[in-house]
Each structure stands twice: as structure tokens, then as C-alpha cells.
């Protein structure tokens, strides 16, 4: 973590270093990147085969859905909100896909309906939050219950997916030079990150997201379209959760109401570890992706080790969240 905190002593040397300092808004992301590289490096030194590029590619492959979730969550958290419903929406999406395919719908119609349901759910929560001033945490809690309840209503049992298009997407690989391979789900996740990064950095919608996170009342007084954007981020998050659900369906080839329990916590943790301020206004979507990769690396680390038990993942994630939250708190306090 020493990369995030800057040494205070060393006057003249520090002044010279100062000239090369990247803008402060990139510091948290650089810290996360350093953390990721560091973890990967240590893994490579300690375990045989850890440094293999395919391990990295598997990291992406195993966490593609989580990356998409974290992208949507980043939008919401940047406005100072939170979305607890994403885990349940993932489960609902797998279930809708499985059920509609089971009923003989075309796979494309099934996918489209999943995405529409996710976006509509998100929009509804956004409307509650903005127009009725209900805390995001409570409104999305209702969304979480609703989505999970709908999942059970469709089927209490697990439904497997045998549609050929779905299994094709799931199993077909893209061969990369050097004998490495990846899958289409990874491409989808990376495209989602790229699109989100562009929207956040280069569109009025994106800049308004940051403005609302900085100060909602100011954004209002500056004449920005606060209502549309505030509802919009929940639509995006709902859409991303549904897309993540589809990727999860490709990954597991089943619809199950017990899928993705607690996954919203992973998404939130990834966003926080990616350097996004939980109070809103600061953060990059690339950071959230790196956050997911850090989480994935910790998991890989533990599975490579063999002596460490799986619960260390959660404990380590909790510790990382703590460290980032406390550092953020100290930094915002110093500013004010």
C-alpha cells in the first residue's frame, strides 16, 4: 500500500518527484494496478506455473461476469449510490434464460428479454430513488428481494441449459498467438469496460455522473440533467447485471435461484478496491476491472497454494476494502 501514500519527508527530492507525478485522480487506480502486479509477481515467484499467461487469461475468463457487474456498479457508486440488487438480478437472468429456452424461445429472443428485464428493474429502482427520495440502499434492497422472489416464482429447481447457441458461445474459444486461448465472454466483458470508460470520460452523461457524485445540489444548480442521469445509472447497473447474468449462464449453463448469492458484495468490493470513492465522484471503470482481477488473483493464489483455505479469500477481501476505505477517509478529511 505504500504506493498510495506519499512520503512526506525529503524536501528537495520530493519536489523534483512532484514534477513527474501523474494527476491525483489516477493515483488510486495505479495503486490497484501495482497491487495486482505485485500479487501476480509474488505468485509467479512462489508457485510453479502461476506466471503463465494462460493463468491471467483464465482470470479474465472466470471473472468475466463479475467484471460486467463491477462496471455497472461503478456508475452507481460514482453518483454516491449503491446497488444491492445485482446478485439477485444475475440469478434472475440465468433463470429467465433457462426457462425461456426451455419453453422453446429463440436464444436471441431469450437474451434480449433478459437484458430488457434487467434494464427495466434498474430503471424502476432509479425512479424510486430519485423521485421519492428513497435511500438507494433501501430501494435496491427491495429490488434484491423482488428479483430473488421472481426467480423462485419461475422455478425453485435448477434448470439446465442445453440450447446449441448457448453452448457454442460457452465452449468455443478464440485462439491467440502462442497457443493461448480465451472465450467470447471475455471479449464481451472487455467491450463493456471500454464502452463504459468512453461514456464516463467523454460524454455529457458520464461527466454528469461525476458531477452528481461531487455535489448533487451543485449539479442541479448548474442546470445539468440530474434526474435523467440518476435514474440512468441504475438502468445501466440493471442492464449490466443482466448482461453479467447472461455471461454467468454461459459459464454455468444453468438457471438456478441460488446462483450469485452475495455477489453484490464482490462487485462492491471490486469497485472499492479499484479506487472508486464510496461517497461518489471519484473513480475509473478500469480500476473496477483491476479490482475484480485482484479478487480473482487472491482466489487463484489460494487455490495454487493448497495449504490456505478458501475463506482466506473473504478475509483478505475484507481487509483490502478496509484499507481502501480508511485511506479514502483520511484523504477526504485532509482535503476538507
Amino acid at each position: 500500500m505504500s504506493t498510495a501514500t506519499v512520503p512526506v519527508a525529503g524536501v528537495s527530492a520530493w519536489d523534483r518527484v512532484r514534477g513527474f507525478r501523474p494527476p491525483s485522480r489516477y493515483l488510486p487506480v495505479l495503486a490497484t494496478f501495482a497491487l495486482f502486479v505485485g500479487l501476480f509477481g509474488v505468485g509467479g515467484l512462489r508457485y510453479e506455473g502461476f506466471a503463465d499467461p494462460q493463468v491471467f487469461l483464465s482470470l479474465l475468463l472466470d471473472n468475466a461476469f463479475l467484471i460486467v457487474l463491477a462496471v455497472g456498479m461503478t456508475f452507481v457508486i460514482l453518483t454516491g449510490g449503491i446497488d444491492l440488487s445485482v446478485g439477485s438480478v444475475v440469478a434472475l437472468s440465468t433463470m429467465i434464460a433457462a426457462k425461456t429456452l426451455d419453453m422453446g424461445w429463440s436464444p436471441y429472443l431469450a437474451m434480449a428479454s433478459v437484458l430488457v428485464v434487467g434494464a427495466v428493474l434498474g430503471t424502476l429502482m432509479g425512479l424510486l430513488i430519485h423521485y421519492f427520495d428513497i435511500q438507494p440502499f433501501v430501494a435496491t434492497l427491495a429490488g434484491m428481494f423482488l428479483a430473488r422472489g421472481l426467480t423462485y416464482l419461475i422455478s425453485v429447481e435448477s434448470i439446465s441449459i442445453s440450447d446449441s447457441t448457448f453452448s457454442q458461445v460457452a465452449f468455443s474459444t478464440i485462439t491467440l498467438p502462442g497457443g493461448y486461448y480465451t472465450t467470447w465472454t471475455v471479449v464481451v466483458a472487455l467491450v463493456a469496460v471500454a464502452v463504459a470508460a468512453y461514456v464516463l470520460a467523454r460524454t455529457r452523461f458520464g461527466r454528469t455522473v461525476y458531477a452528481i457524485g461531487g455535489s448533487e445540489s451543485s449539479a442541479m444548480l448548474m442546470g445539468l440533467r440530474v434526474a435523467a442521469v440518476k435514474v440512468g445509472v441504475y438502468t445501466i447497473s440493471g442492464f449490466c447485471a443482466a448482461l453479467g447474468g447472461l455471461l454467468f449462464a454461459f459459464y454455468t449453463l444453468s438457471g438456478n435461484s441460488l446462483h450469485a448469492v452475495g455477489m453484490e458484495l464482490d462487485a462492491i468490493a471490486a469497485v472499492v478496491i479499484g479506487g472508486t470513492l464510496l461517497t461518489g465522484g471519484r473513480g475509473l471503470v478500469v480500476g473496477s476491472m483491476l479490482g475484480v482481477l485482484v479478487l480473482g488473483t487472491i482466489q487463484t493464489f489460494i487455490s495454487f497454494d493448497g495449504t490456505l483455505s478458501s475463506w482466506w479469500t473473504r478475509i483478505t477481501i475484507g481487509l483490502l476494502v478496509l484499507v481502501f476505505v480508511v485511506i479514502q477517509r483520511v484523504m477526504t478529511r485532509r482535503q476538507s
Binding site: 424510486l128 475463506w311 482466506w312 477481501i317 478496509l322
Partner: protein
């Protein structure tokens, strides 16, 4: 003030009554209570017994919410408490009554530490409660698994098991414990000045500071209390199955507890709280969970109904929704500005 209080409780009580009526219509024997082996049995007794964990967690949550806070980590704390107790029982003289007592005390002691930790993050470091307690929410179940070594630990201890399924004076122990804590909380908050000071801090922190209230101590107290209640709930849940599964024990109980508090009429914005309201809220939730299979819907679908309840309660409490029903003037922005 009595009028206001009555007014606050009218809706939750009415909702509870409606649920009970639905149950009686679906199963006419719902209200039947019979005596067997000197214990009371029946659906109503079940509801009371099953509501114990939610009620306990919700009591702690009520006080936390009254200070403008929230505690998301209670589920994880419940799991840790269960894990500590069960692991201790398995590791020493498993059947002895003394073991159960020491185990439970140790578990609650650990909970006090966890509460102190949450309170430290909120009161001293000044981190937003929802974020501060998220840390333990994420890491807590990992810690619980660390304690149980990832196993589903099964215990065989009569006294411990009695905590959930035992009877005293024909009544279930779990219910008595929850009611005892309810009574004590009511007594402590209303007979000492704690309740008033909690409300003062929740309603107007700055005015309270200028009046010399030590908000730090108050906030710390409520988080420790919330953790303690969660621990007790965890023990009851573990005792109910005579085992602990760190992954699932108390899963989502924090959300049920928050729901109970909100149904009971305590505003999430902090301030005035109603412990009786929370009691009604907890009973409502447990009755709801009982009602759904009773009227022939898969019990897992109770989440759907909880969602409807959350939205309904929030809309009823939302000034915007109320204003929308009345004349649309002044506009929301004006209303806010005029108040400040």
C-alpha cells in the same frame, strides 16, 4: 404524545392483523394452541418462536438506525457467534451444561469486540456507517469459517439446544430470551437517559453537540449493543439446528431486521424510534414467512412479498409521495430551500 404513538403503530398492527386473518381463512386451525408434554404447540407459538432471531437483531438495529446509522454486519456477526460457540462446545466437554454457558459467554464476548470495532470506524474515524459495517459484512463470514475450519460443525449439547427448542413454563425459551431482551432494552432506553440522547443525536447532531452530548460514546454504545443482539440471535439459530454453517447462518438477517425496523415506523433518517413498532415489524415478517406456504405459494417466494412491503412502507413514509397526492406546490426544490 400518546396519540402520535398510537397513530404510528396503527398501520403495522393493522397489517399484522390482516396477515393473521388471511392465515385463519386459509387454515382455520391457525389459531389453535394445544398443550403437549407440558409445552404449548401451534402455529402462533411457532411464529413467536421463529421471530426471536429477527426480533433480537432488529432491536439492536433500531437503536443504530435512531442515531442515523446502519449496521450491515449483523448477519456476519451472528455467524461468527454461532461458529465460536459451536467450535468451543465441540472442543471441550461436549455434553456438559457448563460448556454451553462458557461457550455462549465467549461468543458474546467476541461480539462485543466486533461491535467495538464497528463503533470505532463510525464514531472515531467518522466513516459512513453503511461503508464502515460493509467491511465486517464482507470479511465476517470468512472469519466464521476460519473458526469452524470451513466445516459444518454439529454439536450435541442439551442446554445449548434448549436455547432454541427448549421450553420454560410451557413457553419456548427462544421467545422468552427475545422478549427479555426487548423488555431490558425498553427499560434501559426509557428509564435511563440513553433513549433520549440517542434520539437527540439522531435528530440534530449539531444541536446535540452544542448542548454537550457526547455523541461518540452514544454511537459506540449502540453498535456494541447491536453486535451483542446479533450474537444472541446467532446462538439461537445455531442452537435450533444444533449446528453451524458459517456460509448460511443468519444470511440476509440484516435485511429482515432493517425491514422490521422500517415497518415498525422508525425512520431510516434517524431520530425517534419505537421498540414496540420493531416488535410488531419482526412479528409481521415472521408471520409473512409462515403465511406464504400456508396459502399455497412456494415459501421461497416470500422475498417477492418482502419487496412489495419495503416499497409500500417507504412510499408511505416518503414526503414526496405524500406531497404528490396533495397539491403540487411548492415544488420539491422550493420546499427544501424554504425549510433550511
Amino acid at each position: 404524545m400518546r396519540k402520535v404513538l398510537a397513530h404510528q403503530l396503527v398501520w403495522p398492527v393493522l397489517a399484522l392483523v390482516v396477515l393473521l386473518v388471511i392465515n385463519v381463512v386459509a387454515t382455520p386451525s391457525f389459531f389453535d394452541v394445544r398443550m403437549q408434554d407440558g409445552h404449548l404447540f401451534g402455529s402462533l407459538v411457532d411464529v413467536l418462536r421463529n421471530s426471536a432471531p429477527v426480533l433480537l437483531v432488529a432491536l439492536g438495529m433500531t437503536l443504530v438506525i435512531a442515531t442515523r446509522g446502519i449496521d450491515l454486519s449483523v448477519g456476519a456477526i451472528a455467524a461468527i457467534a454461532g461458529a465460536v460457540a459451536c467450535t468451543y462446545i465441540v472442543g471441550s466437554d461436549e455434553g456438559a451444561a457448563g460448556t454451553a454457558i462458557v461457550a455462549s459467554t465467549t461468543a458474546l464476548g467476541v461480539c462485543v469486540l466486533l461491535g467495538l470495532w464497528n463503533g470505532f470506524l463510525v464514531a472515531v474515524l467518522g466513516i459512513q456507517p453503511i461503508i464502515a459495517t460493509l467491511v465486517l459484512m464482507v470479511a465476517g463470514r470468512g472469519l466464521a469459517m476460519l473458526v469452524t475450519d470451513g466445516q459444518i460443525t454439529t454439536v450435541n449439547n442439551e442446554l445449548f439446544s434448549d436455547l432454541a427448542s427448549g421450553f420454560v413454563l410451557t413457553l419456548p425459551v427462544a421467545m422468552l430470551v427475545a422478549l427479555l431482551v426487548f423488555g431490558l432494552t425498553a427499560l434501559v432506553t426509557r428509564r435511563t437517559a440513553l433513549g433520549m440522547l440517542i434520539e437527540a443525536v439522531g435528530i440534530n447532531p449539531e444541536a446535540s453537540r452544542l448542548a454537550g452530548v457526547r455523541a461518540c460514546t452514544i454511537i459506540w454504545t449502540v453498535y456494541v449493543f447491536a453486535a451483542l443482539c446479533a450474537g444472541l440471535a446467532g446462538l439461537i439459530i445455531a442452537a435450533n439446528t444444533n449446528s453451524v454453517n458459517a456460509n448460511s447462518l443468519g444470511l440476509w438477517i440484516e435485511l429482515d431486521a432493517i425491514l422490521a425496523v422500517v415497518i415498525g415506523g422508525t425512520s431510516l433518517a434517524g431520530g425517534r424510534f419505537s421498540l414496540t413498532g420493531t416488535l410488531v415489524g419482526a412479528l409481521f415478517i415472521t408471520t409473512l414467512e409462515k403465511t406464504i406456504p400456508n396459502i399455497g405459494i412456494p415459501s421461497e417466494a416470500n422475498y417477492l412479498f418482502k419487496a412489495v412491503v419495503v416499497v409500500a412502507v417507504c412510499l408511505v413514509q416518503s414526503p414526496q409521495a405524500r406531497a404528490a397526492l396533495r397539491v403540487r406546490r411548492p415544488a420539491p426544490l422550493v420546499a427544501k430551500a424554504a425549510v433550511s
